[in-house]
């Protein structure tokens, strides 16, 4: 219980730190939402000043921060100047879409990585190991941007997959299974790009930690007892290798979030990526901060999940 409590407190401090950091960065930087308006000769300087005052941008940094905190407490997360609406509802919808993408990609990538990694470690320097090794180093060198663009080109050329967005035009009229099918079809390419992007690192780690576990004395003992190879790998080595992999889980969530930012923009998936990019170009302060905070929350949640996983799979931690 103490383990969980310290983790939670740690996360809360981290979130506060991130919010202060982004606030300071963004407020210290020159220019704001109304910067372009100031260049417009038809708008007087007083109007711009009044607008800025109305948005609270003329206040000193600590005051705006406290105001923002109050807004967070009331569940609004600040006010979007471009959308003229509270930030939270905007972000929720986009965050749901991003989570859908990142969640599916995480699940798929880990499934493939465990199969490929264990298979690769089962016979070190065998044919499968060499093939998988070569494939991962090639994939590792191919950036997600290129993968996404390549997949998109494939989609445009073949016409088999939709080339953007999340739903088809007639989405509202579809049945429930039709809706799920439609979204899955739209998500196929972005998820593939994300999986291919994160896979090489995961496979390498799974392989390395299973190999490490296979060298342990208790595996040697089990082998001496004549336990079959498959059982040795899956029932003995894999659980022993789970500790470093559970820690990697948190990192893989971070990688997927950063990756999905780009993939969403390239494949016009209505997630947080396009929203953040728009907000940056419009200098919509609170949307940018909100997006960064949301992604940090996901990241922290990913790390917490990894810690919980660690707690479940590794008895050594429970004893401590």
């Amino acid at each position: 219980m103490r383990y969980v409590a310290t983790r939670l407190i740690h996360s809360a401090v981290l979130l506060a730190g991130v919010s202060i950091l982004t606030f300071v960065f963004l407020r210290l930087a020159p220019g704001d939402f109304f910067a372009d308006l100031r260049l417009d000769p038809q708008v007087s300087a007083q109007t711009v000043a009044a607008l800025r005052a109305q948005a609270g941008l003329d206040q000193p940094l600590p005051v705006t921060y406290v105001r923002w905190l109050k807004s967070v407490a009331s569940g609004n997360l600040g006010f979007s100047l471009a959308y003229n609406a509270p930030v939270a509802p905007l972000l929720w919808e986009r965050a749901r879409n991003t989570l859908l993408l990142a969640g599916a990609a995480t699940l798929l990538a880990w499934l493939i990585a465990i199969v490929a990694g264990v298979g690769s470690a089962a016979r070190q320097r065998g044919i499968a190991d060499r093939l998988i090794g070569g494939g991962t180093s090639l994939l590792l060198a191919a950036p997600e941007l290129l993968l996404a663009l390549g997949l998109l080109a494939l989609a445009v050329r073949t016409g088999r997959f939709p080339t953007g967005g999340m739903v088809s035009l007639g989405f509202a009229g579809l049945s429930v299974t039709g809706k799920i099918k439609d979204i899955a079809l739209h998500a196929a390419l972005p998820v593939t790009a994300l999986v291919l992007g994160t896979l090489p690192v995961l496979v390498r780690h799974v392989r390395a930690s299973v190999l490490e576990a296979l060298r342990a004395p208790f595996i040697q003992a089990a082998r001496a007892h004549g336990i079959p190879r498959r059982r040795l790998l899956l029932a003995y080595a894999l659980p022993a290798a789970a500790n470093p992999l559970a820690s990697l889980f948190g990192l893989s969530v971070a990688a997927l979030l950063s990756g999905s930012l780009l993939v969403e923009v390239v494949m016009s998936w209505p997630g947080m990526g396009p929203l953040l990019l728009e907000a940056i170009l419009a200098r919509d302060l609170y949307v940018v901060i909100g997006a960064v905070m949301f992604s940090t929350v996901f990241l922290v949640a990913g790390n917490l999940a990894a810690d919980a996983l660690l707690y479940v799979v590794d008895p050594r931690i429970r004893v401590r």
Binding site: S137, P143, T163, L257, L285, T296, L299
Partner: protein
């Protein structure tokens, strides 16, 4: 292959590549901004040895691209005249180029973009921006990381605590989001040179946490070594101890980190420029060259527009091999 020779091979190949990019003014047949509005999206010129009459030429030659019918984007080779490829030619600006063909023909070994600019030339000039951004940003990150890590490891106490909590904060942030957020509120419309240095400093300053942690670990263990204690007992100052005995120990970690960070930072520059937040036209970077692919028509029709992205693959491959070998050598 042995580890040491792997390191030299990868370093040599990377040096060659960087050399070619730095010498873009000589290697590239045209200037990066030289346009030929009559030849948008012309496919790569083919090098021929045998002409239409079946005669063999010792010197490779190209045919001129003609758009037929005009404005259709459909190119056919005009086989009425062969244009020999000359080496070490003087260009209009007076600079010598590695190769070229006589006017009015053009040699586009990798095709052209929407304004009829030579992709090969732009790839080489763009490599200057993208590869250099990675190198400079990594140097900045390692510098800051070394400083922070050395202070934290050597001074210990509350200073160590503050620096390491800060590092944890930076490590916890999804760094592409952070990069975006910081870039967000810097001026959008700036000259390419300003944008380049801005990008390098933003990318470089975001990544300091990981090297700082690694350096701190090395410094912590190194400062307790007996020879360091001996040097201290002889009256060596803190600065002397750090410079002469402790920081040289961090070299291995720093080199490995450099080989890991440089490709990441190259990708960061490419990503930001791709999204229009980095270096802008007409100066090429591999990122803003890829940005034309955001139009589906270009994406589906002109494969040579992918080349700046494909160029990243061998570069990353070599850096990864280098990092692996360096890591293996350090163990």
């Amino acid at each position: 292959m042995e580890n040491r020779s792997k390191i030299w091979l990868a370093t040599g190949l990377l040096a060659l590549l960087h050399g070619a990019v730095l010498a873009a003014g000589f290697v590239a047949p045209y200037d990066f901004a030289a346009q030929d509005r009559d030849l948008p999206y012309a496919p790569p010129s083919r090098l021929h040895f045998v002409d239409a009459q079946g005669k063999f030429h010792l010197r490779p030659f190209v045919y001129r691209w003609m758009e037929q019918p005009e404005g259709s984007g459909n190119y056919v080779a005009d086989t009425s005249r062969a244009y020999d490829v000359h080496f070490l030619v003087g260009s209009r600006s007076g600079a010598r180029r590695l190769f070229g063909v006589d006017e009015p023909a053009r040699i586009f070994l990798l095709g052209t973009d929407a304004y009829g600019r030579d992709q090969l030339s732009r790839l080489l000039y763009g490599g200057r921006i993208s590869l250099l951004a990675g190198l400079l940003a990594a140097a900045l990150t390692l510098g800051v990381g070394l400083l922070a890590g050395a202070i934290a490891g050597y001074c210990a106490g509350w200073l160590d605590g503050i620096i390491m909590r800060g590092a944890e904060l930076f490590l916890a942030l999804p760094w592409l989001y952070l990069l975006f957020a910081i870039r967000a509120f810097l001026p959008l419309h700036i000259s390419p040179a300003q944008a380049f240095f801005l990008l390098v400093s933003v990318i470089g300053l975001v990544g300091w946490a990981r090297p700082a942690r690694l350096v701190r670990g090395v410094v912590l263990s190194a400062k307790e070594r007996t020879y360091v204690l001996a040097a201290r007992s002889f009256g060596g100052s803190d600065f002397y101890l750090l410079r002469r005995h402790i920081l040289p120990q961090t070299l291995g970690v720093l080199l490995t980190q450099a080989a890991i960070l440089i490709p990441q930072f190259i990708l960061a520059e490419v990503t930001l420029s791709f999204l229009g937040l980095g270096v802008g036209e007409p100066v090429p970077s591999w990122g803003n060259m890829l940005a034309t692919l955001q139009q589906y028509s270009v994406l589906a029709s002109y494969w040579w527009m992918f080349l700046p992205g494909l160029a990243l693959v061998p570069v990353f491959w070599m850096y990864h091999k280098l990092a692996d070998s360096l890591h293996g050598a350090a163990l």
